[in-house]
Each structure stands twice: as structure tokens, then as C-alpha cells.
Symmetry: C2
Subunit: 224 residues, 2 copies
Amino acid sequence: MTKHLMSQFDADLKEIRSMLLEMGGKVEKMITDSMKALIERDTELALATIEYDHEINRLEVEIDERCLEVLALRQPTARDLRFITLALKIVTDLERIGDQCRNIAKRATELNYLPPLKPYIDLPRMAAIAASMVTEALDAFVRGDDELAYGVCRRDDEVDLLNEQIQRELLTFMIEDTTTITRAIQITAIAKCLERVADHATNVAEMVIFMVKGKDIRHLGSGA
Amino acid sequence: MTKHLMSQFDADLKEIRSMLLEMGGKVEKMITDSMKALIERDTELALATIEYDHEINRLEVEIDERCLEVLALRQPTARDLRFITLALKIVTDLERIGDQCRNIAKRATELNYLPPLKPYIDLPRMAAIAASMVTEALDAFVRGDDELAYGVCRRDDEVDLLNEQIQRELLTFMIEDTTTITRAIQITAIAKCLERVADHATNVAEMVIFMVKGKDIRHLGSGA
């Protein structure tokens, strides 16, 4: 490969990296905005967040196409090939995080028709952890930093615990006062969405560890 | 490309196709077995299903590696490139379906320590639909059949409705008799797992439609 081609290829990789980070930033915005819409009972922001998901979908298609172009034109091998195919997988997780945020925003619009059930305490904590997991999983990817990726995997347990706590608390509400059921079901569903956001971040982190460490690490403790 | 290389490449694609179908078959077996373990209260089968997930994880790594090799050695373009990168994405969905079945089997082992709550009616129906969605999504992929893929997407609504029905029914149990709560929570979680299996099948089907129809179809009605 000539020096010219090499640097053009480096520019391609850099571009894919920065497109992914852009998409990651927008997905984090969706997490923040959908939660803000819920907590501040802001239906306008909820509707804007639902609309914003199109932007995430557009970026998914764009990054996929860019990766395919680079694969076709530059025919990368080894580490670079692994990087691009991983980018293709990560973009799918990011898009699905966007879908979860759209679901949260939709449920926020429905909750806004009903009186508030209780102040949100665990849910914003869950959202904050999930959002930081997304940021860190992407950082781990662009830097090839498996330590950071391991950290993301560990934090998934915190999110799962918060989710269980929320499910239990809302069940108590439903049992004590059946008029809360509709709202409690919506809120448990939102907690589930956040849990799935964290799962996607964990998936990305696991794939990064696989990229950095090789094939024996992806299914930790699975014996695979 | 010489005729010899061409046919070698065709053989590679055929191999990837058959590896994916093999993985799909094993994932369907996991759906069937995890549900059988639940319904027949068969802890041994549940434990075997948890163990079997390693096989799915092994296949994921193998197919990924095979796709990377083909990308590196044959440097496919256009439609073939799209096929292989889609295979890379689909394999991730299949592996995550395996994870959901492992979760179902784990919950089955816990439920087997407790007296039965009620006969399962909707849950096996949900599982049967989800399993057929997985089969059909993969068939749609290997045949490039977008009509079949559209059918899979439509059936996702059936699964969502069954899931909502199960959630509501079990909530009634919990409210009427708080001693059912532990079991009812486990069963609602299993319904959620099946819903996610169907979601993964739908994701695969959407990607197939995208592969067949081009970039304007993936986010149906999203305006993207």
C-alpha cells in the first residue's frame, strides 16, 4: 500500500470513529432528554425526542454505508478489518438505544395526562449510570481500552439492582392502591427501557474487550 | 476474478449461510427446550439448556471469524459485501436470543422449587410464535425474501399483545393474593424474555428488508 493510500485509509477510519462518536453523543442526548421530559412533565420535549430518533436512524444508515464503502474500496485486513466490522455491530446497538429512548418519551407523553405518582429518585440515577455507560463503552471502542470496557460491564449490575428495586417499589404501590396501576406499569416499563440501554452499552463493551483481547474473552465465564 | 476464485467465493458464502442456519436451528432448540423445562418442571433440562448456551456463543465467535476471513481474503463488493456484513449483525441477534433462553431456563430452575401458580396457556403460544419468527427471519435472510421478512415484522405485534395480556393477568394474581408475587414476577420476566426474542427476530427481518430493498426501508415510517 502506498503512503498516499495508507493515509487516505487512516482518514477513513478516523471519519468512521468520529461519526460513531457523533451518533453516541446524540444517543446520550436522547437519554437525557427523554428523562427530562418525564421528570419535568414536558410533553413538548417528549415529542421532540420521539422525532429526534429519525436523526439516530439516519446516522445508522450513513455509518453502515460508510463502513461498507471503506470495506469495498480499501479492503482492510487484520486489526483494521476488525475495527470496521465492530463499528458495524456497535451502530446497531446505538440505534436500539435510540429506540428505547423513543419508548421512554412515548410513555412520558402518556404519563403527562395523569397526576404524578411519586417523585422520581432511582429512575434518574439509573438513567445517569446508563448514559455514562454508553459514553464509556464508545470511548473504550475508539481508544481500544479494554480496562474501561471492563468497568462498563461491572456497572451493569448496579443498573440491574436499581431496576429490581424500582420494580419492587412500584409493585407495592399497585398492591396498596389499585388506582396507581396504570401509572406504575408505565414507570416499570421505563425502568426496563433504561435497563436495556445499559445492556446495549454492556454489549458494546464486551465486543470491545473481544476486539482488544481476542477470541477467548467475549463470553466471560461461559467456558466458550 | 477467475472462475476458480469465483466458485471458491460462492462456497464461502454457502458455508456462512449454512453456519447461520445451523446456529439458528440451535437457537430454536434453546427456545423449545427452555419452555419445555418450564412447563414440565424439568430442572435437568433447564440446566442442560443453560449449558447449551456455550454452544451458541462458540458458534457466534466461529461465524464472526469466518466472515472476517472471507472479507479479508476475497474482498467482496456490492451485494456479497452486504450479505457478509449483515451476517455479522445477525449473528449478534442470534447470540442474544440464546442469552434470553438461558435466562428463561434459569428462572425455570427457580420456579421448580415453588408450587405451580397456574397452567401456562399464553406463554407457550408466545414462545411458538417467537420461535417461528426466528426461523422465518433466517429463511428470509438466506433466500433474500423481503415478503417473508415483512411477515415476521407484522407478527411482532401478536407477541407484544400476548405479553401485555400475560403482564395484566399476573398482576391480577399478585393483587388478589400476595403469596403469588415471587412466582408471578418470575413468570412476567419470562414473558419479557420471549418478547425480546421476538424483537431480535424482528430486527433481523428489518435488516433483511434493508438488504433486499435498499436504504430507504429500514426505518419504516420513520421518515429517515
